[in-house]
């Protein structure tokens, strides 16, 4: 318990001292996971909506596959992307292994199933209530799905925050495709892993607390934006 208390005060000192290296790492974490979530959102919402409105044989298999991918280990994603981007692999000539771009790609792949599966469920349930009405107003199935996403935008926001949490907290994928290169691809989670393996447990825990603090600030900002909407009322994420 001493370690935890030490770590808490160490975390406070780290933040107050505003160490440049630390903030570089924090900034990189936010940029990588943020970009991955933006990309994952575009692909995931589209996929989820389409799966909610599509009708064809084999749809069930696709949905089953998607739900299974929810359990995709981040290390496995890292390995697959590594094999893809390695010089010995098909996308080798792009030369983006061990760069933040590779990390963004890996984390995007990680969050797409999450966003797609949850948004599909959201749209499906909403279609039960309003599908007929929207259809009668002339909306195509996909457009109806999109309108229902707008209708359920606060729930969608929760989904996106979940995806962001998954991305910024994972270490397996970014470690493998990024290489944890100091100053280039070192993010919060790989830094924590490094300090742990060096035996500096208080620092590792302190970094963990800083990470949670950063995500907490992001969530606060989201809440603040929401609270300004007259339609938010009790819908705080």
């Amino acid at each position: 318990m001493n370690t935890v208390a030490d770590s808490f005060w160490l975390a406070v000192r780290l933040i107050v001292d505003a160490d440049a290296a630390l903030w570089h790492i924090v900034g990189l974490s936010l940029r990588v996971s943020g970009t991955a979530c933006v990309l994952g959102t575009c692909a995931g919402l589209l996929l989820g909506t389409w799966l909610a409105v599509a009708r064809f044989r084999g749809l069930g298999v696709l949905v089953w596959g998607l739900n299974t991918l929810l359990a995709l280990p981040s290390v496995v994603v890292g390995l697959l992307v590594y094999l893809l981007l390695s010089r010995a692999g098909p996308l080798g000539p792009l030369g983006i292994l061990f760069t933040p771009t590779a990390m963004v790609i890996a984390q995007s792949i990680l969050v797409v199933p999450l966003i797609a599966a949850l948004s599909r469920r959201l749209v499906l349930d909403a279609l039960r209530d309003g599908g007929d009405q929207l259809h009668s107003m002339g909306a195509s199935p996909l457009l109806a799905g999109a309108i229902l996403l707008l209708h359920g935008r606060f729930a969608v926001l929760t989904i996106l925050l979940t995806a962001f949490g998954r991305a910024i907290a994972e270490v397996g994928a970014v470690m493998i495709v990024g290489g944890n290169v100091d100053g280039v691809t070192r993010v919060m989670t790989t830094a924590i892993a490094l300090e742990t393996s060096k035996g500096d447990l208080p620092l590792a825990l302190a970094l963990g607390i800083v990470l949670l603090g950063v995500v907490g600030v992001v969530n606060l900002a989201v809440c603040a934006v929401q609270a300004r909407s007259p339609l938010a009322r009790d819908a705080l994420v």
Binding site: D132, S136, G138, I147, L231
Partner: protein
């Protein structure tokens, strides 16, 4: 008599193994007001959706003809669905889905809200409205489209009596503008008040199709009269 607006010729609708509608013959003329009555599960909703074009005929035909342009159809449901946006924004979505240009959207929206008496609540979240107010919003959405045909699926079933009366008078006002009306209802008094013609459905078949006066006064097949008697306390 002018050519019919919509004709169903021996139309059937199947959902998998279930035959929801069987061999329906119906022709609808402009300006007519039709009431659909029947027990639950008799196919009233399916018939309305077939008339709209939301479901296709499994056999038979549905033919719609207007004067030049394709007729506009609008529909109201028993439980109105409103998006979690403001009242005015809900109207905009309905108008935008029909492809109306921006200036016209704004004008029609304001006009429709005024007609149904919701202009004071235009900025409010639509989900905050009462059931009756939400149904009025749905009517505003339908009205703003200037439909040729308005279909209503038990529009007052989930409303209290005063809201019922409000909605009925608005429906009448729409019909007075020449809009063709098809309304399903459990409320026979409503059918008597609003309709010119009554259609009785039983197990997916169109059993009776009579002018309203004849429907309520003449001798009817036993099942139909049983149905009527069973429904009488609801008037």
């Amino acid at each position: 008599m002018s050519p019919p607006l919509l004709v169903l010729a021996d139309a059937s609708v199947r959902f998998g193994a279930v035959e929801a509608l069987c061999g329906v013959n119906l022709s609808l003329h402009r300006g007519e007001r039709l009431a659909l009555v029947g027990a639950n599960g008799s196919g009233k909703t399916t018939l309305l959706r077939l008339l709209h074009g939301l479901v296709p005929c499994s056999s038979g035909a549905r033919v719609m003809q207007g004067h030049g342009a394709t007729p506009t159809v609008a529909m109201l449901f028993q439980r109105p669905f409103v998006l979690s946006l403001s009242v005015r924004q809900n109207l905009w979505v309905a108008l935008w889905l029909r492809g109306l240009p921006r200036a016209e959207r704004a004008a029609r929206a304001t006009d429709a809200l005024r007609r149904v008496g919701l202009e004071g609540l235009a900025g409010r979240p639509a989900r905050d409205l009462s059931g009756g107010q939400q149904q009025r919003l749905a009517l505003a959405q339908a009205w703003a489209l200037r439909p040729d045909l308005l279909l209503l699926d038990e529009p007052t079933a989930s409303l209290d009596p005063s809201a019922k009366r409000e909605i009925e008078s608005l429906i009448e006002a729409i019909a007075d503008e020449g809009v063709t009306l098809v309304m399903s209802t459990h409320n026979l008094g409503q059918a008597k008040r609003l309709a010119h013609r009554v259609v009785y459905l039983e197990a997916g078949r169109l059993v009776l199709d009579l002018p309203v006066a004849e429907f309520f006064n003449n001798a009817l097949p036993p099942v139909a009269s049983q149905f009527l008697k069973g429904e009488l306390p609801w008037i």
